[in-house]
């Protein structure tokens, strides 16, 4: 086993019925455990884009990419490198609202550049967008104030610069032992 890392894979698939099932069925069959997965429209009506976050070693990463590339409806698979990409995630967090904690919570919302999007006498709902590490830090800070409910979208990611994933050259053919 190699060193375990988190990594992000972006996948262009045919925008067709059943394609997401083909992708997730392959994960089950090959025993991949996915941390997060998002799917949505792209600049082209022909394709959907799936963003996958996974933890694993180099072997798991290579296998995930190769097995994805084998699926007929998969058009492009690339790793989104940490250093040259922008990653964003959105979370909605519902927490208890009372006079004792309100000020603390609101100042944290301010510092983290989050937003209050619902506010009643007993609860408030906070929207926060950003890099997953920022969201993790915010959630950790909020834990003592009583999180009632929470949901996260999973990561979406793009590479910096004018290049696009579809135009990127895929390196296959020769593989060498690391």
């Amino acid at each position: 086993m190699g060193k375990t890392n988190k990594f992000v894979i972006a996948v262009y698939v045919d925008n067709k019925y059943g394609v997401l099932t083909r992708v997730t069925s392959m994960f089950t069959r090959r025993g991949f455990n996915i941390d997060a997965l998002t799917v949505g429209e792209t600049e082209s009506p022909d394709y959907s884009r799936i963003t996958i976050c996974m933890s694993g070693d180099g072997y798991a990463k290579e296998q995930l990419i190769n097995q994805l590339r084998k699926l007929i409806n998969v058009k492009k698979v690339e790793e989104i490198e940490e250093s040259s990409s922008i990653k964003r995630e959105l979370a909605l967090i519902k927490i208890k609202n009372n006079s004792a904690t309100r000020t603390d919570v609101l100042s944290a919302v301010d510092v983290y550049r989050a937003k209050v999007i619902d506010f009643t006498a007993t609860e408030m709902c906070i929207e926060i967008t950003g890099d997953p590490t920022k969201i993790n830090a915010f959630i950790e800070y909020m834990l003592p104030y009583g999180i009632l409910e929470m949901c996260r979208t999973g990561i979406v990611a793009l590479e910096r610069g004018e290049g696009t994933l579809l135009s990127k050259e895929t390196k296959t053919g020769v593989h060498k032992q690391n």
């Binding site: 059943g18 190769n66 053919g173 032992q177």
Partner: protein, 561 residues
């Protein structure tokens, strides 16, 4: 030309070169069967006893010829009965197209009578599948299915067609046979790298698999072996790629492989893998595998590189093209020391075999049985098997004179595969076909004897009858303190009478002499023959590398651990 969806299906099959299909009618494929009836002068349908038999027949048809095998089944249970057959084809990379009917689109998702989501069921066991809900997409979906099935690393594709799509009318214009999607050619740098590794090697071992067998690369592989003084071993799926009488061919390696093959690989300094996936049955413990050697792997499937074992150089490209370019560029070299070493391993293997023969006394050992089969079988004979001890004996002892002569379920290990596959192989080639099976496996799908009789398919069925599930029993003998849990069959089946009841010929052999007589007679009979052959229930498949072990843990004698 306007025609119904069902006629489009049959016409597309014919357009793609299909001459024989295997299947079973039912409520949601009546229209397809009606179209088959109308086109019976252009396409031959073989009605099996069970859909599983149809799937295995289509698979055997493909294994024996390389053509895409085709099977048809109705919705629901018809479709699910194909599942084991499709999975068998998937694990051994066999090109196959399965056509299933389904309930009309308006009834889909309502748990209608005989409705099953077969594309969902077969998702992990097909290369790809289609649910065709528009008649406009039907012909192209089937064409794509053929193309995907045979391109790159082959595999099965399923096309599910709801009844209303079979009834709907649409335009059909015949097209040519779809070509395989060409594989990329390897770049010169990687060919040079492979050549450099081979030129440096002192003890090269060419390791061939189902890919090399499927591409019929035997001649080229022998050329390389001659040019660089290499020996050749194979995986189970690589059997019959190189003729058995070739001096440097050491046979199958691995769990039940030949001693000479496994030990030569251990001592080699370079393994040249050709269309082989380094499966666990062949490599044993991967941590101990090929410790002393570098590995080159030629394969069309990039996901196979570094999947089971780490390789030094993987070339993902057209395997034949890469191989021929390497063959052309490598330096000719003589390695008498290595050849001598390999011969010493062969001598050791013979010594082990002689010792075993001595212990055997006067009972008929599996090797003696195969000696008879090898001696009398006609040229171009196809050997098909089921799964278990008899299958490993076939892999060890059966001799093949040309390619695509060994038809057996390797990856999935499907008991009940053999009879259907034998029918398919024989129908495809008209070459003599011998099915070696066991009483356990035969019991699973012996209903196909009815098919063989109905269509008068000549088959010699050698039924190795030991009254036990021998392979599991062997493990219970070796690793489970002889606790023979549920492996003693003690059935009262009289296989001679059974064969006769089906309308086939039945014979019995209780010793070597009787077997020789029966086999000689069986090959002259124009129809299916069952030879009920008595085998000792405590016969072992040897040698054996224990699960998770390596060649160092080899078991060569009974009673040894």
């Amino acid at each position: 030309m306007k025609m119904t969806g069902a006629e489009i299906i049959i016409n597309t099959l014919i357009e793609q070169g299909t001459t024989d299909v295997f299947g079973y009618p039912g409520g949601q494929v009546i229209n397809i069967y009606d179209a088959l009836y109308k086109n019976s002068d252009r396409i031959n349908h073989i009605l099996t006893a069970h859909e599983q038999g149809a799937a295995h027949a289509a698979d055997g048809y493909s294994r024996a010829t390389g053509k895409v095998g085709v099977c048809i089944a109705t919705s629901g249970p018809g479709a699910t009965n194909l599942v084991t057959g499709i999975a068998t084809a998937m694990l051994d990379s066999i090109p196959m197209v399965a056509i299933t009917g389904n309930v009309p689109c308006s009834l889909i998702g309502k748990d209608s009578f005989q409705e099953i989501d077969i594309t969902g069921v077969t998702l992990p066991i097909t290369k790809h599948n289609y649910f065709v809900n528009k008649v406009e997409d039907l012909a192209d979906s089937i064409r794509e299915a053929f193309q995907i099935a045979k391109s790159g690393r082959p595999g099965p594709v399923l096309v599910d067609v709801p009844k209303d799509v079979q009834v709907a009318v649409y335009d059909f214009e015949p097209q040519g046979i779809v070509e395989k999607i060409p594989l990329p050619k390897a770049d010169e740098a990687s060919i040079d790298e492979a050549v450099a590794l081979i030129n440096e090697a002192k003890k090269p071992y060419i390791y061939i698999g189902g890919g090399a067998a499927g591409l019929k690369m035997g001649k080229e592989i022998i050329e390389l072996a001659e040019k660089i003084d290499a020996c050749i071993g194979c995986s189970f799926m690589g059997l019959s790629a190189v003729p058995d009488d070739y001096d440097r061919f050491l046979g199958m390696q691995g769990m039940h492989g030949h001693y000479a093959s496994s030990i030569s690989q251990k001592h080699a300094d370079l393994i040249i893998g050709v269309g082989v996936r380094f499966s666990d049955r062949a490599t044993g413990n991967t941590a101990k595998f090929a410790k002393n050697s570098k590995i080159i792997q030629l394969d069309p499937d990039f996901a196979e590189i570094n999947k089971n074992v780490n390789v030094d150089l993987g070339i993902v490209a057209d395997v034949r093209d890469s191989f021929l370019r390497i063959l052309d560029k490598v330096e000719k070299s003589e390695k008498p020391e290595w050849i001598k070493e390999v011969h010493s391993y062969k001598a050791k293997e013979e010594e082990i075999a002689k010792k075993a023969e001595k212990i055997a006394g006067d009972r008929m050992t599996p090797k003696m049985m195969f000696d008879v089969i090898n001696k009398y079988k006609l040229p171009r004979t196809i050997i098909t098997t089921d799964v278990g001890q008899h299958q490993m004996w076939a892999a060890q002892y059966a001799k093949f004179d040309t390619t695509r002569r060994f038809v057996s379920s390797g990856g999935l290990g499907t008991m009940g595969f053999g009879l259907g596959a034998a029918i398919g192989a024989r129908v495809a080639t008209n070459d003599p076909t011998v099915l070696v099976t066991g009483d356990g496996s035969f019991g699973m799908n012996l209903n196909e004897l009815a098919t063989a009789v109905t269509y008068n398919v000549p088959l010699v069925i050698v039924l190795c009858n030991n009254g036990v599930l021998g392979m599991v029993r062997q493990w219970q003998n070796l690793f489970f303190g002889k606790r023979f849990s549920n492996t003693v069959l003690e059935r009262k089946t009289d296989f001679v009478k059974l064969a006769e009841a089906f309308g086939a010929t039945g014979m019995r052999a209780t010793n070597l002499e009787e077997f020789e007589k029966a086999f000689k007679k069986a090959i002259t009979i124009n129809g299916p023959v069952v030879i009920d052959t008595a085998i000792d229930k405590d016969e072992f498949v040897l040698p054996m590398l224990p699960p998770g072990g390596s060649i160092d843990d080899i078991i060569t004698e009974k009673g040894e651990k």
